[in-house]
Amino acid sequence: MTIKNSLKTALSGLRSHKSRSLLTILGIVIGITSIILIMSIGQGAQDLILGEIQGLGSKTIAVIPGREPHGPTDIAQTLTSSLKERDLALLLRKENAPTIKEIMPLVFTSGTAAYGEETYAATILGVSEKAPKIFNLNIENGSFFTEDDVKGKSDVVVIGYKVANELFGASDPLGEKIKLKGKNFRIVGVLPQKGQVSFFNFDEIALMPYSTAQQYILGIKYYNRFIVEADSDESVDRTVEDIKSTLRASHEITDPEKDDFFVQTSSDLASTFKSVTNVLTLLLTSIAAISLVVGGIGIMNIMLVAVTERTREIGLRKALGARGRDILQQFLLEAVILTAIGGLMGIFFGAILSFAAGIAITQFAGLNWHFTFPFFGAFIGLTISAAIGLIFGIYPARQASLKSPIEALRYE
């Protein structure tokens, strides 16, 4: 029998048991749905994070205090005070790091911003006057603070769109004073709606000179980060090496293993996050894949029932000239069609759910989420589900093909 006619025969076999066929493939549908959902959300998360890292620019380098974390338990090591004013001065000297174009120290904490009765939980970020350039910020209302403000530790602040909205509503916040950690700060600028840039949501931010934040907000003498910009893409690696040797000399470290800081480039960060999200996606996908195995066993079970039920039909077909191969082909095709339909339904539901999840994330988390349809996931899902049909269908199909025509015809 030709494949085309086997296909027709298999389809009519399935059509005669519509609701049972549908229930049978439910396991496959759920499995593929979850795989598509996980892969789509994983991809979305990765795109989001990578987009933020790339938002910083490929020439941006971060110097972070503490030992480079090698696992989740290492995270505490980053909270140290190793980056000092002296380090900043050394890095600013051209002979130490000639390819550094800009360098900006950074401190951060969170705190409640208050204006009259209104309060808002903001992220307080201490930066230099170079922040608008590095973070690509455009101030439409007011202006950013100046180098003099940084030097003089002025009590000025630039607030994010959401902070301004929550505290002042429709009225103009420019020139008004807000309270942060018990101290008054004069608002000199308001950021337009901006969203997430490099791990900071600039809509929820209060920007002030780092010197001011160190002294009045945090009471520290060290920095949480240096943000460095190399003068070209090619000089990024050299800049990293210069930073390392300068800081090692400054900290009197001879063994690189004992570094009390680490340097991260945008591409480092991107690849780290890529591998983290990939591992997570893979892990979750594997869990979802278990349901496919369960679904496959369900298919096998039902196919065995179908073979027994249709013993007479098998016998008749054999009496009329069907070879064992024809019967095998027919039942195998039924199983594969069944699982492939399950796969398609799974892809459909998975796409709908991940699209809905994307909308929900954008709505409720305020992230700039992009829905991506995982074509690779869809391809894999369809292949896997068809393969499950083959693997779990072969045994029942073989049982069917081995039936002797007369025993099959006698079966009541």
């Binding site: 008749l316 077909r317 009496a319 009329l320 000239g321 070879r323 002797s404 025509p405 007369i406 015809l409």
Partner: protein, 240 residues
């Protein structure tokens, strides 16, 4: 040259213990010429169905030799057996064995699907066979919607569609009332007389058997007698 030539056919069904083995057929020797209409008769358990199954390649004998259309069955593998069954034999069963949720046309086309006949000829061949049994008016009905007599006529059309040399009919009237049974016998007789099909019919009713030219009687797995029918019944006489 006989189309069916069986010498000392034996069939033993092995039970769990040696003692429980049953001898369903012992030393059955017979030969059937092309174009003959032979009835095989006997009470239930006499081995007539077993004999038909062996003659129709549906099961293999335990001993003896069997030649169908010059081919020795022992020398054929399953694929070749399937091919001969498909192209040279037609089967009509007591329980009709139609696919219940397929139409008359689809049921009759079934043997063609397993054959080497080109697909563009299927419809015409099937319609020809359906016409021959007078079922054209039901061609698109599902098999479950038909009466017993109609079902058996469709089953005969299915047996005919490949224009087989031999039609094996296992109690074709056993599930039918006498009127429909007679209509079926008329078709079978017509196939033999006007279309040259060799017919091997199994029945336990003498009256039905007497539509054939020759009756082979079985008892306890052995051939008891093999005689020509003196006075043949003509199915159309009864119908008139």
């Amino acid at each position: 040259m006989p189309i069916i030539e069986a010498i000392e056919l034996k069939k033993i069904y092995k039970g769990e213990a040696d003692a429980s083995s049953t001898l369903a057929l012992q030393d059955a020797t017979l030969s059937i010429e092309e174009g003959e209409f032979v009835a095989i008769m006997g009470p239930s358990g006499s081995g007539k169905s077993t004999l038909l199954h062996i003659l129709g390649f549906l099961e293999k004998q335990s001993g003896g030799s069997y030649k169908f259309n010059k081919r020795v069955i022992e020398e054929l593998d399953d694929t070749e057996l399937a091919r001969v069954r498909n192209s040279e034999m037609g089967f009509v069963f007591q329980a009709f064995n139609l696919l219940p949720k397929a139409t008359v046309l689809e049921n009759v086309k079934l043997p063609l699907m397993y054959s080497a006949v080109a697909e563009n000829k299927w419809d015409n061949l099937a319609k020809e066979a359906i016409d021959a049994v007078g079922m054209m008016h039901r061609i698109n009905h599902l098999a479950i919607q038909l009466s017993g007599g109609e079902k058996q006529r469709v089953a005969i059309a299915r047996a005919l569609v490949m224009k087989p040399k031999v039609v094996f009919a296992d109690e074709p009237t056993g599930n039918l009332d006498s009127q429909s049974g007679q209509a079926v016998m008329k078709i079978i007789q017509d196939l033999n007389e006007n279309h040259g099909h060799t017919i091997v019919l199994i029945t336990h009713e003498t009256y039905t058997a007497e539509h054939a030219q020759r009756i082979i009687k079985l008892k306890d797995g052995a051939i008891e007698s093999d005689e020509k029918v003196g006075h043949r019944h003509k199915a159309d006489e009864y119908l008139k």
